[in-house]
């Protein structure tokens, strides 16, 4: 049986990429919001997560995070800037929620994070990885995904 990879993004690009270049080594599940991802993780067996960072095509009501708290904490009460920030950083906010619910699967971002930020994410959430671009070989290597005998 192949390991299960959950792809979380606001569109279908990561899923399409995964279907074409990772489906030989993993069974795929998809989620288009944090809530959907948490539902899949709560319901199904998942071995790893492929996570988008920016969710700028999601409706704002589907975003994880409290816009009022963020506005107050980071943006001087500006809800508009806080909402944009929630979209831009949604993937990381979903990871926070995934870990808060006790799910410990390794998570891979396709994003060019600065080194210190990736260290911070690992410090906060354990097994978090990043590849700077869509690269199936790198993702397979990180997650130890290998083709299984039919």
């Amino acid at each position: 049986m192949k390991p299960v990879l959950l792809v979380v993004e606001d569109a279908i690009e990561y899923a399409e990429f995964a279907r074409l270049f990772l489906s030989d080594v993993a069974d795929l599940r998809t989620a288009q919001s944090g809530a959907e991802a948490l539902a899949v993780l709560g319901r199904d067996h998942v071995d790893a997560v492929l996570m988008d960072l920016r969710f700028d095509r999601s409706p704002r009501e589907a975003l994880i995070g409290n816009v009022d708290d963020l506005a107050k904490e980071l943006f001087g009460g500006d809800r508009e800037r806080a909402a944009r920030y929630m979209q831009d950083q949604q993937g990381a906010l979903i990871v926070a929620e995934i870990r808060a619910r006790g799910h410990k699967q390794p998570i891979v971002f396709v994003h060019d994070f600065p080194g210190r930020r990736l260290s911070n994410l690992r410090r906060l959430y354990g097994e978090v990885f990043a590849v700077p671009s869509f690269d199936a070989a790198a993702i397979r290597q990180i997650l130890g995904l290998r083709p299984t005998a039919a």
Partner: protein, 521 residues
């Protein structure tokens, strides 16, 4: 043509008979106008004077003056409409900008129009430009008063030169050559004309070579553009280089090795050739750069990385029919052009990690306080107790130092003035803290706590009330996605004004040069 050749050609021309000197004057004037146009295209502040300097007795001089007159009408109408808040102002100003440089005297009017529209930051910018060209104007006192009225956050001394200085600009001479000069004088004039023309031509050649800057050069020369550059590069990398180019890496490899499935090929065609044509997307990003950072940037000709990128995009676009026919050579070319664009992405990644940062440390904060204390009112606050607390580790923010100092000086000035109006004890504490966010980012908070009981709220800071002096602060902070809030004080302080920045997390880039504190506010 080399400089020597230009000199030679001009010298030969000067030795001719009849109308040769006149032709030389016309040729020199044409070149002078060409040079003036180049300066105009590069947005040089004094391009106007280069236009005026083209002798009016020549055809080029007459054309230059006609353009200036036409542009002047547009500029003046545009400024008047802008001061009235009329949206047609933009069109008039654009028509002026499409025609010829603006008379720098109008910077003052433009500054006043901005002030009338409540655009303090722009008003100051235009006053600065005016004073850069006319350092000792007759209305200097009036301008000082107007600058002071823009808000207590701005020290007129920061805009106006410290003392009246004689203008360095020589008056423009427009005297036509006398027709009845003696022969000897004529020869000297011709010789001088040849030399001047040769020097002018050399200057044009040098300027041509220097026309436009690469993105790396512009980044290095203009730290004030870093926020815009970071944004534009980020958008280009995300929308084009990640989702359309980076995404097809595995498909490119599969096609090149001959192992691609039909679905993988379809995926590649969709990314490269579906939706907006790739070349149009590329052009859109280039235009966004040009609009945002102005004509000094020349991504199309001067910047080798972008030139390679443009070629790669163009070749990728032209490969579609061959790729669809499974042409093996096209697959090779696809891999090459894809690699070129991946290389551009890597280069842009390196560039944004070198954007200027400013260290937030004790030296900076104490310098800010000392600088503000040199001002008249804040300097008169007595019985002041100051505490500065900073973490041991180096902390940097991606903020141009001038802007950071402007923000901090205004916060400190505001606190000191409030303390001056309050009874002792008068305590001010500046404290730097960092926090790790759930996103893995870090924020830097500079907390200015004071013991004044004067009311200040976050809302009042953002309502741009001039008397609070923080209008410039909120404008500057917005450029860096930063924020300012007011919180209840701790440890015996009444309130804290908190300025929040995102921390620079990359490997250290070049730390901003440190100009004298008084020059940075």
């Amino acid at each position: 043509m080399s400089i020597v050749a230009v000199v030679g050609a001009l010298a030969l021309g000067a030795c001719g008979e009849g109308s040769a000197p006149r032709e030389d004057a016309e040729t020199a004037a044409e070149r002078a106008l060409e040079s003036a146009d180049s300066r105009f295209a590069r947005g040089e502040l004094d391009a106007y004077f280069a236009f005026v300097a083209v002798p009016e007795t020549t055809a080029a001089g007459r054309r230059a003056r006609a353009r200036l007159a036409r542009a002047d009408g547009h500029y003046r109408r545009g400024i008047r409409l802008f001061a009235e808040g009329d949206p047609d102002a933009r069109r008039e100003l654009q028509l002026g900008a499409d025609t010829a440089p603006m008379n720098p005297l109008l910077y003052r009017d433009l500054a006043r129009a901005c002030r009338a529209q409540g655009q303090s930051v722009r008003a100051i910018e235009y006053f600065r430009k005016y004073l850069a060209l006319f350092p000792n104007p007759s209305d200097r006192d009036e301008i000082a008063r107007e600058v002071a009225e823009l808000g207590p956050e701005l020290d007129p001394a920061d805009v106006l030169p410290s003392a009246p200085v004689p203008t360095k600009r020589r008056p423009v001479t427009r005297t036509p050559p006398a027709a009845d000069d003696a022969g000897g004088v004529q020869l000297v004039a011709i010789a001088l004309g040849v030399i001047a023309a040769a020097l002018g031509s050399a200057l044009i050649l040098i300027l041509r070579r220097r026309r436009g800057l690469t993105l790396a050069q512009l980044t290095s020369e203009s730290p004030e553009l870093h926020p815009s550059i970071a944004y534009l590069v980020g958008v280009m990398r995300h929308e084009l280089l990640k989702h359309r180019i980076g995404a097809i890496g595995d498909a490119v490899r599969a096609i090149r090795s001959g192992s691609a499935t039909a679905q993988q090929r379809a995926f590649l065609y969709d990314r490269l050739y579906g939706g907006e044509p790739l070349e149009r997307t590329w052009e859109g990003h280039i235009r966004a750069f040009e609009r945002a950072v102005g004509p000094r940037l020349d991504l199309r000709r001067r910047d080798a990385a972008f030139r390679r990128g443009a070629k790669a995009v163009s070749r990728l676009a032209s490969l579609e029919p061959k790729l669809r026919r499974n042409d093996a050579r096209a697959a090779e070319r696809l891999a090459t052009e894809h690699a070129a664009l991946r290389s551009l992405d890597a280069e842009l990644s390196r560039l944004v990690r070198q954007l200027v940062r400013t260290r937030v440390d004790r030296v900076l904060l104490e310098g800010v306080v000392a600088s503000v204390r040199e001002e008249y009112e804040p300097g008169r606050v007595t019985d002041l107790s100051l505490e500065v607390t900073t973490p041991d580790e180096a902390i940097e923010v991606e903020v141009f130092r001038v802007d950071l100092v402007l923000v901090l000086k205004n916060v400190v000035r505001n606190a000191l003035l409030a303390l001056g109006r309050s009874d002792p004890p008068r305590r001010l504490r500046l404290k730097v803290e960092t926090d790790l966010l759930p996103t893995g980012e870090e924020v830097v908070r500079v907390r200015a706590a004071d013991t004044s009981h004067e009311m200040l709220t976050t809302e009042s800071v953002y309502d741009r009330r001039i008397d609070r002096g923080l209008g410039l602060v909120t404008a500057a902070l917005a450029r860096y996605d930063a924020a300012i809030t007011v919180e209840p004080g701790r440890d015996g302080y009444v309130k804290e004004v908190v300025v929040r920045f995102f921390r620079a997390l990359d490997d250290a880039g070049p730390v901003a040069a440190e100009p004298p504190m008084e020059a940075a506010a």
